[in-house]
C-alpha cells in the first residue's frame, strides 16, 4: 500500500502539474482566437477530472506498480515461493493477491484525486501569472464548471482501471515460467496488456458516460 500509494505521490504530482500547465497553455492558445479565454479554467478542470487525471495516473501506476507487482510475483513463482506457500496450506491468492488488490483499489483513486487537484493548481499557475486571472476568479470558474458527477465519473474510471491493472499484473506474475527470462517477459506483457486494456476501457467508459449523461 505504501509502495503503490505513498511513494508514487511525488511522481504523480509532478506529472499532473506539468499536464495542468500544458493544458492551460494550450487551452489559452486555442480559446484566445475565439475570445473565450475565460473558459480556460473550465476546460482544465473538466478535462483533468474526467479524462486526463484517471488515465495519466493509471499510466504512471501501471509503469510503476503494475510492473513491480508482476515482477515480484513472477520472481516468487520462479523461486518456488508460491509453491512453498501452497504446501504450507496457505492460499497464495489470499496471502499475496488480495492485499495488493485492495491497495490498488484504494490507492489509484486516491492518487487520481491528488493528481487532478495538482493539475488544476498547474492550470491556476498559468492563468494567474500568464493570463488575466486572479486567484479567486480562477477558483470560482473552475468550481462552477465542474459538478460532482465529473468527479464521480473520474473516480469510477480509476477504480475500474485499478481492478484491470492489478488483475492483469497478478495474473501475469503468477503464470511466469522459465526463470529470470520468464519474469522479464511477464513484466513486459503485464505493462503492455494493462495499458491497452486501460485505454480501451477508458474509451468505452467515456462513451457510456457521454451518451448516458
Amino acid at each position: 500500500m505504501v509502495f503503490i500509494g505513498v511513494r508514487a505521490a511525488p511522481m504523480v504530482a509532478l506529472t499532473a502539474f506539468s499536464v495542468g500547465v500544458t493544458l492551460a497553455m494550450q487551452a489559452a492558445h486555442s480559446l484566445k482566437d475565439l475570445g473565450a479565454e475565460m473558459y480556460v479554467p473550465d476546460l482544465v478542470m473538466v478535462t483533468l477530472l474526467r479524462e486526463m487525471g484517471p488515465v495519466l495516473i493509471a499510466v504512471i501506476v501501471i509503469g510503476r506498480s503494475g510492473s513491480a507487482v508482476a515482477a515480484e510475483l513472477g520472481t516468487m513463482k520462479v523461486s518456488e515461493e508460491i509453491e512453498a506457500l501452497e504446501v504450507m496450506a496457505i492460499n497464495p491468492v489470499q496471502y499475496l493477491v488480495v492485499p495488493r488488490f485492495l491497495a490498488m483499489l484504494v490507492m489509484l483513486p486516491a492518487l487520481t484525486i491528488i493528481g487532478s487537484y495538482v493539475g488544476v493548481f498547474g492550470g491556476w499557475a498559468v492563468c494567474r501569472f500568464a493570463l488575466d486571472f486572479n486567484t479567486a476568479g480562477y477558483v470560482l470558474r473552475a468550481l462552477q464548471s465542474a459538478d460532482t458527477w465529473d468527479l464521480y465519473s473520474g473516480m469510477i474510471k480509476s477504480a475500474v482501471f485499478a481492478w484491470i491493472v492489478i488483475t492483469i499484473a497478478c495474473n501475469a506474475g503468477l503464470h511466469v515460467e522459465g526463470g529470470a527470462e520468464g519474469v522479464g517477459q511477464a513484466t513486459t506483457a503485464a505493462v503492455v496488456q494493462a495499458l491497452l486494456a486501460m485505454l480501451v476501457t477508458n474509451a468505452v467508459l467515456t462513451g457510456i458516460f457521454f451518451f448516458s449523461a
Binding site: 523461486s79 518456488e80 512453498a84 506457500l85 504446501v87 504450507m88 496450506a89 496457505i90 492460499n91
Partner: protein, 284 residues
C-alpha cells in the same frame, strides 16, 4: 522399526506422463510411521516429480497416492490444504519468502494456522532456529544469509508446526559436512524420538545411509531397487552399485539425465542458438 499398522504414505501404481512419455511408471511403495524413506536416483529420473505427487501439487495420470489414509489425488484444493497442515516440506532451495525476515518465515505457518499469541510464537521460532543452529538470525532477510543457511531456515519452517510427516528435497546438498551431520542427527532425533515420518530425496550417499531406514532407487521413472540400507549396500544390481559408489563407468547411460530433462519441460526455441554456438566455439 515399527512397520505395523496403517501406512502413513501409500503409493499404488503411480503413473505420470508428460505427453507420450512416462516420467513415472507403476511406482508403488508404502511408508510407515517412524520410518525414514530415502529416495535416490540420477538427476531427472523423476524424484522431484514423485515428491510433487506426494504433496498433492501434481496429479497423476493414473494410480493412487494416499497420505494418512486419505486419497490426495482426488482431492480439491480445500481438502488438500487440510492434509498439508499435517506435514512439513523442505524445498531444495529453501523457498523462503524473500520479503520476510528469517524469523517471520519460520513464524508464517504458526501465524496462519494456529491461534497462538505473539510471544508464544516468538518462543517457538527461537527454539526451531536453535534446532538448526541459527540462533540470533531472526532479523536477517533471506538475501543476507548463505544458501546452506536458507536451507536450514527452510527446515526450521517445515518443522514449525511439529508435523507428523516431513518431506525434504535434498536437505543436505550445499551444506558443509558438519552441518550435514547436524541436520541428519536432527532428522534421526525427530523420527526416533517424536515418531515423525520422513521422506527424503537425496544425492548424498553418506547422509542417505546415515538416516535412511528404507531406501528406494529410481531410474528411468521406475523403481530400480528398494530395501533397507544394508540390502541396498549389498545389492547385486550393478546400477545401484554404480550409483552408491559414484562411478562414472557403469550400466547407467550418461545421456540419461539430459534426455529426461528435455522431456520434462518445454524448451523454448532459440533462433540464434546455432550462430551463437559457432561464435563461441570457432572451429579451426
Amino acid at each position: 522399526m515399527n512397520s505395523n499398522g496403517e501406512p502413513i504414505i501409500e503409493v499404488v501404481d503411480l503413473v505420470r506422463k508428460f505427453g507420450d512419455r512416462a516420467v513415472l511408471k507403476d511406482i508403488s511403495f508404502n511408508v510407515h510411521r517412524g520410518e525414514t524413506l530415502v529416495i535416490m536416483g540420477g538427476s531427472g529420473c523423476g524424484k522431484s516429480t514423485l515428491l510433487r505427487h506426494m504433496i498433492g501439487s501434481m496429479k497423476p495420470t493414473s494410480g493412487s497416492v494416499r497420505i494418512f489414509g486419505e486419497e490426495v489425488t482426488a482431492m480439491n484444493e480445500r481438502e488438500i490444504e487440510r492434509v498439508r497442515r499435517r506435514f512439513g516440506m523442505l524445498f531444495q532451495s529453501g523457498a523462503l519468502l524473500a520479503s520476510l525476515t528469517v524469523g517471520e518465515n519460520v513464524a508464517l505457518p504458526l501465524l496462519q494456522h494456529t491461534d497462538k499469541f505473539a510471544d508464544e510464537i516468538e518462543q517457538i521460532v527461537k527454539q526451531k532456529l536453535k534446532m538448526v543452529g541459527l540462533t540470533g538470525f531472526e532479523d536477517l532477510k533471506p538475501a543476507e544469509i548463505s544458501g546452506g543457511m536458507k536451507k536450514r531456515v527452510g527446515l526450521a519452517r517445515a518443522l514449525a508446526l511439529d508435523p507428523e510427516l516431513l518431506f525434504s528435497d535434498e536437505p543436505t546438498s550445499g551444506l558443509d559436512p558438519i552441518m550435514t551431520a547436524v541436520v541428519d542427527q536432527l532428522t534421526l532425533k525427530l523420527t526416533h524420538g517424536s515418531h515423525m515420518t520422513a521422506v527424503v530425496v537425496s544425492h548424498d550417499m553418506t547422509s542417505a545411509f546415515r538416516i535412511g531406514t528404507r531406501m528406494i532407487m529410481l531410474g528411468h521413472g521406475s523403481i530400480v531397487a528398494q530395501g533397507t540400507p544394508d540390502e541396498i549396500r549389498n545389492s547385486p544390481n550393478p546400477e545401484v552399485q554404480q550409483f552408491i559408489h559414484g562411478e562414472a563407468d557403469g550400466p547407467i547411460p550418461l545421456n540419461l539425465s539430459q534426455d529426461e530433462h528435455e522431456h520434462h519441460q518445454y524448451v523454448k526455441p532459440r533462433p540464434f542458438a546455432f550462430a551463437r554456438y559457432r561464435f563461441h566455439h570457432k572451429t579451426p
